[in-house]
């Protein structure tokens, strides 16, 4: 299950962060998302390590915490997407697929002429779209 998704801007500031847990551990998830930015920096600054994943937007598993897995995605405009999931057995393909749909949703949201680049995303449509994608994540992995 996806517990948290986030869009992080150029100054590593959160543009959109949403958690999907019943338990009130949103703050912990915020910490996890924030810490995962270190790995994104590391991967982006030392691309030779990632080797074959050069020029790829999907950054892969960023780091495993004890209960979560954190995945990252870097758009061509250097906006970061972070995904936190509790599924310990996740297929990369599913995550890629998720990020692709999420990216499309993000592009739609910021293409809004009333959206100012670099500011938080407050669009309700975007929030709805994200929750749809998040909900469908679990099913697509089984199916």
């Amino acid at each position: 299950m996806i517990v948290c998704v986030a869009v992080v801007g150029h100054q590593n500031n959160p543009l959109y962060i949403q958690s999907f847990t019943d338990a009130d551990d949103a703050l912990k998830l915020h910490h996890i998302v924030h810490c995962s930015l270190d790995v994104v920096d590391e991967r982006v600054n030392n691309p030779k390590k990632s080797g074959p994943t050069l020029n790829e937007t999907f950054l892969g598993l960023l780091y495993p915490t004890e209960n979560y897995k954190v995945y990252g995605y870097l758009t061509n405009t250097k906006v970061k997407f972070i995904l936190v999931t509790t599924d310990l057995d996740v297929k990369d393909a599913d995550v890629r697929n998720f990020f692709r749909r999420f990216h499309a949703g993000y592009v739609d949201a910021i293409s809004n002429p009333f959206h100012e680049p670099g500011k938080k995303i407050t669009s309700k449509t975007f929030a709805e779209k994200v929750s749809t994608i998040v909900k469908s994540f679990g099913f697509s992995s089984t199916g």
Partner: protein, 1185 residues
Amino acid sequence: MEEYPEEMRSPPVSLVSVVGCSELHSFISTHLHSLDPPINTLALPDLSKVSLLLPPPKPNPADFSAAAAPPPAGILKRDWLLKHRTKVPAVVAALISSDRVSGDPAQWLELCSEIDNLKGLIRGRSIKLVVVVVNSHSTEEISEDQMVAVRKRAEVDAKYLLTFYTGEDSQLKQSLHRLGTVFAELAGMYYRDEGRRIKLRIERKSSGPTDLNIRYSFKVAVYAEFRRDWVEALRFYEDAYHMLREVIPGVSTRLSAIQRLVEIKTVAEQLHFKISTLLLHGGKIMEAVIWFRQHNASYRKLKGSPEAIFLHWEWMSRQFLVFAELLETSSAAIQSISHLTAGTADRPLTEWEFQPAHYYQLAAHYLKEKRSSLDFAVSMSEGDIDYSAESVAPSSHMGQFARLIEQGDAFVMQPLTDEEYMRYAISEGKRFQDSFEIIALLKKSCESYTNLKVRRMASFCGFQMAREYYAAGDFNNAKLLFDDIASLYRQEGWVTLLWEVLGYLREGSRKHSKVKEFIEYSFEMAALPISADTGIQSFRFEESGPAGPATLQQRETIHKEVFGLVSEKLGLASTENGDDVKVSSTNPLHLEIDLVSPLRLVLLASVAFHEQIIKPGSSTLVTLSLLSQLPLNFEIDQLEVQFNQSHCNFVIMDAQKPLVASSTDGQSGHRRETAPSLRLSTNKWLRLTYDIKSDQSGKLECISIIAKMGPHFTICCRAESPASMDDLPLWKFEDRVVTYPTKDPALAFFGQRAIQVEEPDPEVDLTLGASGPALIGESFIVPVTVTSKGHEVNSGELKINLVDVRGGGLFSPRDAELSADSHHVELLGISGSEGEDESQLDTDEIKKIQKSFGLVSVPNLKSGDSWSCKLEIKWYRPKPVMLYVSLGYSPDNNGSNTQKVNVHKSLQIEGKNAISISHRLMLPFRRYPLLLSRTKSVPDSDQSVSMPLNETSVLIVSATNCSEVPLQLLSLSIERDNDDTERSCSLHGGEDLLNPALLVPGEKFKKVYTVTSEMNSSKLILGNVCLRWRRNSGTREQAGSAAPVMTNHKLPDVNLESSPLVVSLECPPYAILGDPFTYFVKIQNQTELLQEAKIFLADAQSFVISGSHSDTVYILPKSEHIISYKLVPLSSGEQQLPRFTLTAVRYSTGFQPSIAASTIFVFPSQPHFKMVAVGDDRKESVVAE
């Protein structure tokens, strides 16, 4: 890692025992220890005491049949490894002195019994025996027979019967070496045999109890380690580990499940530790990490019974800690981890999994879990009397505990029940301060992350650390960390995280009655961009810490609380000393908000002047704009605006609160303004516009705005220019309505908080009265006049600067190196106004004159007065120059603090050559000496002029006025340039000028000299032309006053040369039509040689010629040949004489006179001349008909 016994932590080392000959033991043990691999030595001084070392053998366990064996009491025996490392030798070496071998039979018998005894002890075990005969005297050889006897007696191979020589160093060394080799070989053999033996048991008992199989696998692995066979060791450790996993499912059904699980985990921990160590030592970091991950995954869920869960967490924490320490020590050896590929495709490894910091952090995490579950367990067991905790001790099997019961002299181990064990574990757990341990772990992790420049992870660790400190009541440490973390979150705009950190800081300040900090943190929290619709869910109270949920409502609560405090309605309830701390007259509070302060969110002051430059005394408008992001509206009692010119400061009052205004009448003399309202609402600019006026020129800058809220609370806010104002931190990411600080958008973009106040306008005229270009050489006078037109001139100063128009200096750098006085243009002096004494000027007023700079003080002038001076400037080269004159004065007479007023004037002056001098050297008319140097002319040899020797030449010097003004020529003369060179010629010129000659622009003045060379020198030095002149300024008096200028012109030297032939043409000055005249050609031979010359005369149209046209003549040495022609002119006017050509054969050079020299004027009839005397010296010839 330190809590493991030493034998677990280090790889095992082979153990051998040496018995007898104690004097050699230290040699041998040192040598064996220094081997690679080292061997430990167990030494016994006497062969007869060997039974101390080896107790009589137990009955071999292999004797029992598998079925008959009782089930093992535990998995691993606690002291088994220690025993094999320190007590059971692999090899026993009996050291026998050679004396005893070769000695008398009694000794021999004694020796035999000792050897038998030793053999008996070894029997049944596979310990190897070596017999070493120590021969201290190399000369005494032991006979072969004796050796064979010893060998037979001891039943050893010949290989293992050694002779040890102690006599010489080299022998000793050799013997030691031999001994070492044999020991290493036998030890290897022993451990291999033991391993094989146990392996056989495993195979035999594959269906037996798993506990035993685990134990055997462990033993095999240890023996393999003794042999340094790491691969096999690893394999058997892993076997043991996997077998242990199989035991686990059956645990819960057992009677003492808790203890059993503890035992299993302890064993698993040991096995895992061994495996990780071996992997890491083999440099297989990735395998080790993957192994650890599996270990973690398989045991993490194995929590056991709920009441003992803290034991699980403690165990987990220890796993992480130990692995972190292992990784740290081995990654120090393996420098770079970056080359490792990030795991396999299906199990990718991430960066931090190679970092010890990651494991330290998780160790801390589990320790925290342990603490909370322990706290729970302690609270549950409250009331129980831990009656027997002291007598519980670790039992003989690893991971097992038992109660020691004293029975007479002996202790008996009595197994514990789970309940008893739990009581013991809880009482043990209470003894430790977990919080310090957690902080230490987090600190390690934090430091490690910081070194890796992983700031956010480090901050997260720091945050957890700070929370521990906070919980432990160490607020100072917590504050240091929290502040550091808060700055990162502020920078990156993580508002929720910042909120949480600030919550801790705020509560900490409250607890420690730090009012100022409390108010600062409260303000910052209240102004954070958290609104109802940011989508952040409410947090549980425990999780969000003391900050409470990050909601708009909470912000408003904080806002109200802090304003209650500053308005002195509320006090700060401090828990530390019980009483409230208030902001009061004894405890006033002042906050500073600068450009980088996080409190800019609370109050932002922007100040914009409506103009950029104003005149002193005139007023302009200034707009103050205040912005606050606090969630609720609030009122400011009074605003004080501070400028760098303090007399401009003013105070703004709320018009609706007149009473407050009178009560704060502290600062007298300041302007007081009122505003309709000083109420600030969220994200809405409060704009106030006022007049401002300054009399002082320079920069007027608004420094700060001090807002007073409540009687004893002020916020000093640094003023910012709208043009250079940064976005509000944190709020800049919010999707909010952005408004401008001023209504005028232009001002919002370009407004500045500083304004330039100009100098007052000067009311003094400064005129430079020079006209026309300056002439080189003269001292050019520039009159400067200072006329006061309203201002008094006090302590005036005139600065004069000469600047090259084209840039660069007024002197060429090349010249500057040569001489100091080579300025092209120079300021010679400054003379005061007419009538003033020159010397007085020098002392008083001329302060400083340099070549291109001057400074003169101007006397005090009243309004309407004027003062003038003259600048003398001299040009040395033609160069345009800019003259800058600036006058600085103070219009008021009252001291030095008044401002200076400056007037600047500039004038470009051209420097020009006044006179150009040229000269010409001529030979007498119609006389042509043959100059050989001219005939063989080289193209560029005409640099110096040649002149025939002993001839009189004519020198014409002409001076042209090339300026634009008439000049007076005072004299022209030729002077020798230096005294030491004699003039080699005599110059005879016309008489000197009696009166100055006036030269209008463009006019030429000529003077003619005859030059005769006097000496037989080859060079004629003519000297310098000296021309004295001055500017003709119309009136006589002025002309006399101006100093004459001397212009020099160097005449080039002339080469002298004797001419072999001189040709002169002679004919009358004019001819008359039809009248015959004679035309002589005289050829003078000046040499000692006979000269042959060919002459040729061309026909001329206008003349009839008599005489030979062409001829060859021979001229005798030093004689003259004259050829004469008779000519009759046929037409009148300027007529060309017949062209005469001479060719000197000896010099093969030809000669033809110039056309000008061979013309003659033919009058139609005889002319009549009349001489007329003219007034001045000039003679004129008038031609009359």
